[in-house]
Amino acid sequence: MFTTQNLVSVAIAALLTAGLYAVMSYGLAIIYGVMKVINVSNAGFLMLGAFMTLMYSQWWHLDPVAGAVLNLLPFFGAGWLVYKLLVRRVVNSRSARPIASLLLLFALWLVIQNVALAIWGSEDQSIITAYTYKSLIVGGFRLPLTRLIVFAVALLALSLLHFVLGHTYIGKALRATVQDPQAALLVGIDTERISALAFGLGTALAGFAGGLLTLLFSFTPDFGGPFQLKSFTIIVLGGLENFAGVTVGAAILALAESFAVLFMRASLQNVIAYGLLVVALIVMPGGVAQLWSRIRS
C-alpha cells in the first residue's frame, strides 16, 4: 500500500486538487486582507457558481470551464452590490463589532443556500462532459483529464491574479490597502472603492471556482459548507494577509487530506481540514508565513 508508486500518485492527485483549493480560497484572502472581514458567504457563491455553470450547460451546452469564465462578470457585480448594500454598513462605522460582519455574511449565506434549495432542490447534480471519464497516462501515472484541466485553468487564473496584483495600479492599490488602510488613504487611494472592488473580485473568484468544481465533484446546495471551512483553513495556514501563502496553504491541506486517506476512512477526510483549522488558529495564527519569518530572524 505504501509503495513509492502509490505515494507519488497520491501526491500528484493532491497537488492537482491544491490548484482548485487555491483559487477557491484566494477570494477569501483578498476580502480578508482588504477589510478584515471573514466572508462566510464565499461558500454560498461557490455553490451558486456551480449551479449557474450547471444551468449554462443545460441551456447552451456550455463547457464547465467556459461556464466558470462566464461566471466572472456577473459574480463580480453581485459581490460589488453585496458590499455596497450590506457589508459597508457593518464594517466602516467605528462602533462596529467584528462579529457583526461575520453574522451578516452568515445570514447572507443562509439566504443564498435556501434560495438555491428552493430553486433546485436537494438532489445531487453533476455535469458530464465528453472528457469526464478520460485520463492521461504520464510517466506511468494515470491522471484524470478533468483534474489536469482544472489544475491548468487554476494555474492560469492564479498567474493572472499575481500579475494584476503586482503590476497594475488597481493591484498595487489593493495591496497597499491590505498593508495599511490609513496610509493608503494618505497616498490618495480610494479605499472605499478598493473595498468594493475586493469584494467583487473575491466573489468573482468564488463563482469561477464553483464552475471549475463541477468538473470534479457532484454538488447540492449544501456542499458549500466543507469548502468554506477548507478555504478558511487554507488562508489561516498560509498566513491571513499573505497572498502567496494561499497557494502554500492549499498545498498543505490537499497533501494532508490525500495522505490521511491512506490511514483512515475516506468519510473522515473533512475532519482533517477541521482539525487543522482549529490547530492552526490556536497554535500558529500567522500561518506558515509567521513560521517562515520566525525561522529567518
Binding site: I99, A100, V111, N114, L229, V278, L281, P285
Partner: protein, 345 residues
C-alpha cells in the same frame, strides 16, 4: 434586586404558571403538547447559548456538539438499563466536560475566529460520531426503548428545563458573574486590567451553558426514542440556537425565549413548503436585524416601550429600559484586529 429585574422575574413566573396550566386545561391535545415540548427545549437551549453568546459575546456555531453528546449519553445509559431521568444530569455533565476540553483552547481566540473554530469543532464531532458506528449506531442511528412516560410528562419536564435555564441565566445576569461577562464582552483587556478573571468566567459560562444544552439533548433523546448523528449533531441545530438568540435579542434573558417561540411557530407553520424554508425566513430576519436592530426583538420591544412611555408622559424617555444597555448593540472595540489568541496573562 433591581425593580426592573423583579418585574421581569414576576412576569416570567406568571408565564411559567400559565404554560404549566395548559395541559390541565386542554388535556390530550397531542399537537399542542408536542409543540410545547420542542419549543420549551429550544427555549432552554437558546437561553443557555445566550449565556456565552450574548452575555460574554462569544458566538459559538458548534453547540450541536453538546446537544448531541447529551443525547447520546442518555441514549447509551438508557440502553444500559439506567432510568432516563437519572441520565439527564449525567448528560449535562458529559457535555460540560467536553465543553471544557474544547473551550479552554478555543476561547482564547477572539470573536470571529472563535466562531469559525466552533464550526469546525461542531462539524468534526458530527463526522466522528457518524463514523464511530460501533458506539453510536453510525448512519442508522440508535433505536431506544419504547416504554416511555406520556407526552404530558415530557411537557412538564421540558418546561422545567426551560425554567431552570431561565433561572440560571437570570441569576447570572444579576450577579457579579454576569457583570464580569458583560465587561469582558465590551473590552477584554480593560476587564482584565480591572481584575475580572476573564478566562475563568468565559470557561465557566461555556461549561454552564453546555451542561444545560446537554441535558436538553438527553430529554430530546428520550422523547424521540431515536438518536442519529445527523440530527442531534447537525449544523442546522447549531445555527438554530444562534438564530434564536440573535433574533430574540442577544444579551437579554428573555430575548431567546421570544426568539425560540417565534422560531418554532415559524418552523412549524412553514414546514409544509419545504423542510428548511424557515431557515430562509430566519436568514432574512437576521440580515435585517444585523443591519437595523442589533438588539433583536428584545431591543425592538425595548425601544417601543421607551417610545410609548415617552409619548404618554410627554417627558424625555425616563422609561425603564431594562434590556437596552446590553441589547447587543454595537459597542466600540478597542482591541486590534490580529487574529489568533488574546494574551491574558
Amino acid at each position: 434586586m433591581r425593580p426592573s429585574l423583579r418585574l421581569e422575574l414576576a412576569a416570567a413566573l406568571a408565564v411559567g404558571i400559565l404554560l404549566a396550566a395548559v395541559p390541565l386545561l386542554i388535556p390530550g391535545n397531542i399537537t399542542l403538547l408536542n409543540l410545547g415540548i420542542l419549543t420549551f427545549l429550544y427555549v432552554a437551549q437558546g437561553v443557555a447559548w445566550n449565556i456565552l453568546g450574548g452575555f460574554a459575546g462569544y458566538v459559538s456555531f458548534g453547540y450541536a456538539a453538546f446537544f448531541g453528546l447529551g443525547a447520546y449519553t442518555t441514549a447509551l445509559l438508557w440502553l444500559a438499563g439506567w432510568s432516563p431521568v437519572l441520565t439527564y444530569p449525567v448528560a449535562g455533565l458529559v457535555a460540560a466536560a467536553f465543553s471544557l476540553l474544547v473551550g479552554a483552547p478555543t476561547l482564547r481566540l477572539i470573536g470571529p475566529y472563535f466562531s469559525i473554530a466552533t464550526i469546525g469543532v461542531g462539524e468534526a464531532m458530527r463526522i466522528l460520531m457518524l463514523n464511530l458506528d460501533k458506539i453510536t449506531g453510525g448512519a442508522s442511528g440508535l433505536n431506544l426503548p419504547t416504554i416511555v412516560p406520556s407526552k404530558t410528562w415530557f411537557y412538564f419536564v421540558a418546561l422545567i428545563c426551560a425554567a431552570i435555564a431561565y433561572a440560571v441565566a437570570a441569576w447570572i445576569r444579576g450577579a457579579r458573574f454576569g457583570l464580569g461577562l458583560t465587561a469582558l464582552r465590551l473590552d477584554l483587556e480593560a476587564a482584565e486590567s480591572l481584575g475580572v478573571r476573564t478566562t475563568l468566567f468565559k470557561n465557566l459560562a461555556h461549561i454552564v451553558s453546555a451542561a444545560l444544552v446537554g441535558a436538553c439533548g438527553g430529554v430530546y433523546a428520550t422523547y424521540l426514542q431515536y438518536v442519529h448523528p445527523d440530527t442531534v449533531f447537525s449544523f442546522t441545530h447549531s445555527i438554530s440556537l444562534v438564530l434564536i438568540a440573535l433574533i430574540g435579542g442577544l444579551g437579554t434573558v428573555w430575548g431567546p425565549v421570544l426568539g425560540a417561540a417565534v422560531f418554532f411557530v415559524v418552523q412549524d407553520y412553514l414546514q409544509t413548503s419545504y423542510p428548511s424554508f424557515h431557515l430562509l425566513v430566519y436568514g432574512l430576519l437576521l440580515l435585517l436585524i444585523i443591519l437595523f436592530e442589533p438588539g433583536g426583538m428584545a431591543g425592538l420591544a425595548g425601544r417601543l416601550v421607551a417610545r410609548v412611555s415617552h409619548a404618554s408622559t410627554g417627558s424625555p424617555a425616563a422609561a425603564p429600559a431594562p434590556h437596552a444597555e446590553h441589547g447587543g448593540a454595537p459597542m466600540p472595540r478597542t482591541e486590534t484586529e490580529r487574529p489568533g489568541t488574546k494574551r491574558t496573562t
